[in-house]
Subunit: 148 residues, 2 copies
């Protein structure tokens, strides 16, 4: 799954976030037939946004869609989703959440399981490296983003 | 609590949403010392947004804040919060969620309880009327917003 177009897009988005000086987390929402509906990255630093985490950006960039468009969809994200992004995946009935890594943060994986979603953790080196570097360099921004 | 400034603000926001032809749900985030940090309403129709539910708008309009600013805060919302808005309240460790009504939709109230949050449902007539009228007039927009 590291080579899925959705995952590649999520990692590209995370790198864009890093290049912009932001929180380097990316995501892509992919329909059941493999179309990327939307992709995006965390925009806290860039837009002063408290809600544009990567998964939220991917949903927002997918635009207004009927429920049928999300059926069987997969959310690819470079980091384990926080409670907000977990809830957004539940609202839109995303079927699978594929996660780059959960060493630097563990979010709502158990709750996603409990609500019947598939969760896959790739333990991807590149995702881990991006987050480790960021947390070391900008701990204040990271703590603000994840509200600790 | 129907007379709390935060609740009055949430209802005002819901009415703004109705006047704009949108989903008439409003919210306000209030700090532990009673300051309105941010307020807003659902912006699906107005902005073509899949993520700007009322509570999300209130959080976004509060801007970037450190975790300490949310400590002991209350989210006032005119309708029971969906999974996404529930998750956002959990991420930011909002202490209380005060809900105008849950007759037209029941969201993550049990989960908020389970995660240690206070939940109060006011069963407010005005909130119920706003939603009933809206759902009758624009069922398509409502179904899209709540993803059914």
């Amino acid at each position: 799954m590291d080579q899925d177009p959705g995952f590649i897009a999520a990692v590209e988005e995370a790198k864009k976030g890093a290049a912009e000086g932001g929180v380097p987390i990316g995501a892509a929402l992919v329909s059941k037939d493999g179309q990327i509906l939307g992709r995006g990255h965390n925009m806290r630093a860039q837009n002063g946004s408290a809600i544009l985490h990567a998964e939220m950006s991917a949903l927002e960039n997918s635009g207004r869609l009927p429920a049928s468009a999300y059926e069987g969809a997969t959310m690819y994200t470079t980091l384990s989703p926080c409670d907000m992004c977990t809830g957004a995946c539940l609202l839109y009935k995303v079927k699978r959440v594929i996660i780059g890594e959960n060493k630097n943060f563990v979010g709502g994986e158990d709750y996603l399981h409990a609500r019947g979603r598939e969760v896959v953790v790739l333990d991807n080196k590149e995702c881990k490296h991006l987050m480790e570097k960021f947390i070391k360099e900008k701990p204040g921004l990271w703590n603000e983003d994840i509200s600790v």
